[in-house]
């Protein structure tokens, strides 16, 4: 996993609620056996008409907006557990997703892939979306060590689990840790009452 520290970028606004992982990456594109190339099919059915014609009114096809930050409506990433959704967003070039609420499994998958989910208040999200609409070159700073997101003169702090934060800052993942405590896991197994 790549290290994450600070992202300073313009953003892509997607003010839609309940964006599910079937929209982020439809099931028919989950047939690969590697992690590569999912960005091509990110938001496939919103981005293209059947065939390969880009839909001009979809924000990823609108050159007004670009950047490493996606700003979306509440309950982002609900539905399927497919980690391919996080891979697709990351592969496309996003490093941060901002929303007022994230679905649990997506949030975990994102953190395990160096994609930072930043949960902000409804009011902050509204202001942020308005600022991006008014000025698409609005620069947003996401600072992981300080746990703040800021644009123009506004700033809000966000939560991230202290263990996960360490992992992101250092590029560690959970496997390294779990493999290192094998003895304790074996001890647990010997004492477990569970059938």
């Amino acid at each position: 996993m790549e290290k994450f520290n600070k992202v300073v970028s313009t953003a892509v606004p997607m003010p839609i609620e309940d964006i599910d992982t079937d929209q982020i990456i439809p099931a028919r594109f989950l047939k690969a056996t590697s992690r590569d190339g999912f960005g091509d099919n990110l938001f496939r059915d919103w981005r293209y008409v059947q065939g390969n014609q880009p839909k001009p009114d979809f924000v990823l096809n609108d050159s007004t907006y670009s950047g490493e930050i996606l700003v979306a409506g509440k309950n982002f990433g609900c539905g399927s557990s497919r980690e391919h959704a996080a891979w697709a967003l990351y592969d496309y070039g996003f490093k941060v997703v901002v929303s007022s609420f994230f679905a649990d499994i997506f949030k975990g998958n994102a953190l395990n892939n160096g994609l930072l989910p930043v949960q902000v208040s409804e009011a902050f999200l509204k202001e942020l979306l308005a600022a991006i609409k008014a000025n698409p070159s609005t620069e947003i700073t996401v600072d992981l060590p300080a746990q703040t997101i800021s644009f123009d003169e506004k700033s809000e702090s966000f939560e991230v689990n202290s263990y996960k934060k360490e992992c992101l800052l250092n590029g560690y993942d959970d496997i390294d840790f779990l493999v290192s405590i094998k003895d304790e896991i074996e001890e647990y197994e010997a004492s477990s009452m569970v059938i």
């Binding site: 989950l30 047939k31 399927s80 980690e83 499994i105 689990n161 263990y163 405590i181 094998k182 896991i185």
Partner: protein, 464 residues
């Protein structure tokens, strides 16, 4: 101190607790399938790691498999490659696999319980969000991403923050024509598609207790559709009766030992939950969804609401536009093109019996394409033994071979763009059943009645 069922099972699986509220949680059983496991095997191999506890894993292909002519090679090249990759990975790492044609093959969440792999008080995971199904037995079961699949392969553990607890109690007698699917669609319509996020749910009350294991699985299965990681139901005689004598369930002295543990699995009197809801069973009627998330459900006879308190106007209108419906209108009389009966939500023998009972001696409407996909080879075998296949064939339904099928349209079983499908599956997301497909979620009974009538009707008028 009084403990909840969830706390009892969770606490029995904590290897150690870390700073920041994270527990190392031991996983008793790990189910894998072809879509979310290949990258995990690669991850493990790239680090030179072995499977830590291969005997606690079971694999089956389900998402991608054709539901016709399973004895022939898979036609679709990418699907074939993915299924072959699962076979090769399992062979290389010596993992138990029930491949196509094996009498135990089926949807991963259908075969776990029917083989006795799913047991009360266990922790279970799978790279699939509907792993919540197994909570019906009083297990803690939840869906994980592929990185976590690799973690469990490497250590049989996961790093998890303990979720908050919620109890949903439904007391009273269920109305005629109301099934488990109606109960869960009703609950999600009340709590919204995000109402359970951050929680693990326990379903309780006399209406829940009265349900069969199949019905309980339907309810726990859709816990994720309100955002909850999982749902569980305290095991009781119904549970033990179901589990007893299955392929991998404990036998003899092991069974007695298991029963000792299982009998402790209930929420203590006075245990506190972070959130509680109570609904009277009498308020639940046959349900159907009209929108593009499972929270957008109504009583089949009700009108689509004018707006949703929890959704912005833009998202609500986008959803209705996709479905081709108007705010405030009734769904009654709307013609339907497809009926899909299947998926890990409703593809068990009891679901097939409900359908067969209703369609016996009737004929599906001309305008409807009716597909029924059993959850496993065992369900298929049982259906044939009971003559259900013949009843369905005479009614014009096509009984296919097991798999996830048109629930998510990864294989050839898709609903065409613009067509309406009444489906017993779990998600009505845009394009879920194929690009442009319009899905209305409902119970097997509502699906059966719709297939016969060719349109959405008030099913109470069609029941004896």
């Amino acid at each position: 101190m009084a403990k909840t069922l969830f706390d009892k099972v969770w606490d029995a699986h904590v290897v150690k607790s870390l700073e920041g509220g994270i527990d190392v949680l031991y996983i008793d059983r790990h189910l894998i399938h072809e879509v979310t496991s290949p990258q995990a095997f690669s991850e493990l191999e790239s680090r030179g790691l072995e499977l830590f506890r291969k005997d606690q894993m079971v694999a089956t292909p389900d998402h991608n498999v054709p539901t016709k002519d399973q004895h022939l090679p898979i036609q679709e090249e990418l699907s074939k490659h993915q299924v072959d990759t699962l076979l090769a990975n399992c062979a290389r790492h010596n993992v138990t696999l029930y491949g196509l044609g094996h009498p135990f093959q089926g949807i991963v969440h259908v075969i776990g319980p029917e083989l006795g792999i799913t047991l009360p008080g266990r922790t279970m995971v799978c790279g699939d969000s509907h792993t919540s199904t197994h909570g019906a037995f009083g297990a803690i079961a939840f869906g994980i991403g592929t990185s976590q699949v690799a973690q469990v392969m490497a250590s049989q553990c996961l790093l998890q923050s303990k979720p908050k607890t919620m109890r949903i109690t439904i007391d009273g007698e269920l109305n005629k024509g109301v099934y488990a699917k109606d109960i869960i669609l009703y609950i999600i319509s009340k709590l919204t598609a995000a109402g359970g996020t951050g929680y693990f749910v326990e379903y309780a009350g006399s209406a829940i207790r009265s349900l069969s294991m199949e019905a309980r699985m339907t309810i726990c299965n859709m816990s994720i559709e309100m955002g909850a990681r999982g749902g569980m139901i305290a095991p009781d005689e119904t549970t033990f009766e179901y589990v007893k004598g299955r392929e991998f369930s404990p036998k003899g002295a092991e069974w007695d030992k298991a029963m000792e543990y299982w009998n402790t699995l209930y929420s203590d009197e006075g245990a506190t939950f972070d959130k509680e809801y109570n609904f009277p069973a009498a308020d639940i009627e046959p349900m159907i969804t009209y929108g593009t998330n499972p929270g957008m459900g109504i009583k089949i006879t009700a009108n689509i609401p004018d707006r949703l308190a929890e959704a912005g106007e833009e998202s609500f209108q986008k959803s209705l536009k996709y479905m081709g419906f108007e705010a405030g209108e009734s769904l009654l009389g709307k013609p339907i093109d497809y009926v899909f009966i299947g998926s890990c939500t409703n593809s068990r023998i009891e679901d097939l019996r409900i359908v067969a009972d209703y369609v016996k001696g009737k004929r599906k409407a001309e305008n409807v394409n009716a597909m029924i996909v059993p959850g496993s080879k065992q369900v298929e075998k049982q259906a044939k033994a009971e003559g259900i296949d013949k009843v369905l064939a005479e009614a014009g339904f096509e009984l296919r071979e097991p798999g996830c099928s048109a629930c998510l349209g990864m294989n050839e079983d898709k609903v065409p763009a613009g067509s309406y499908c009444v489906s017993t599956s779990n998600r009505n997301f845009e394009g879920r059943q194929g690009p442009g497909a319009r899905t209305l979620l409902a119970s097997p009974l509502v699906a059966a009645v719709t297939a016969i009538e060719g349109k959405i009707v008030d099913i109470s008028k069609h029941l004896n």
